[in-house]
Subunit: 160 residues, 2 copies
């Protein structure tokens, strides 16, 4: 199974927006999620560190929520970037999204020691508001489903 | 403002179930969320570490999802424990819940450097399935709302 994204959208976030604990390339303690296209779907791979335990042997649901969250905003960014005529790897600065809402349904206990794969389908519901439907697999097992609504980052995020 | 829970339900989870990254007292790298009663509501306080950045100055949404998640399962446990005639601090082993579903709506950017307070209202929807409605405040600002449906931990979680 392919477990690496070649051209991730997060690689091209400007440095000011690359500190996210989930997906920022500059956050040394973060998860470094990387999200890219696989055909018309989006993918993010994640091998949770051992610290992300729920009950010993199973992955912490909050880590899965983090995966769903950043996979969602990354997928929104990929989709709007493509709509604007760009693909990750082209060097164009992509739009940055924030999460408006996050939903996760936990279907099965998620085993530790396995690479997780989040797969997303992106839908535009407004030029600045996109919805991503997400499935999280551990190997062949569908462990969780999720939905993220992302909005283009409002100016309030850059004015503290 | 009171920012500490005196008697937290997580303090009484058996050691085998105290490894959760969000709320396990034995997980050295975790968040150590502690959830207790405040009248008829449940509360959890959280001062996010600096690593939990979204955009510099603002808290990572995945960390808020983690707070909502563990506050939810902890609140379910508190409520069923009370229904069974026990309060945290009594020394009785409380029931342990897992998350069936997690929803978070992000209303406002959450500032870093502030103690967050999750407040929950718990409702029984089945003897083994409880729902928690949650508000997350940074000071006086309502930054996020959430809902967790928790179920009493199924036996599959202790049989790998």
């Amino acid at each position: 199974m392919l477990t690496k994204v070649m051209h991730a959208i997060q690689d091209e976030y400007p440095d000011d927006f690359a500190w996210c604990y989930g997906c920022g390339k500059l956050n040394k303690e973060g998860n470094h999620f990387r999200t890219g296209w696989q055909g018309e779907e989006t993918v993010t791979f994640f091998e949770p560190a051992e610290k992300y335990t729920a009950i010993p042997g199973f992955v912490y649901g909050g880590a899965i929520a983090s995966l769903v969250d950043c996979h969602g905003t990354g997928s929104c960014s990929l989709a709007l970037h493509r709509k604007n005529g760009h693909e990750p790897g082209s060097g164009e600065v992509p739009p940055r999204f924030v999460t408006a809402s996050l939903n996760v349904d936990y279907l099965k206990p998620t085993p530790q020691g396995t690479v997780l794969k989040a797969v997303g389908k992106v839908e535009e519901i407004h030029p600045k508001k996109w919805k991503v439907s997400i499935e999280v697999f551990a190997g062949e097992i569908l462990c969780a489903t999720g939905e993220v609504v992302g909005v283009v980052m409002p100016v309030t995020f850059t004015q503290k």
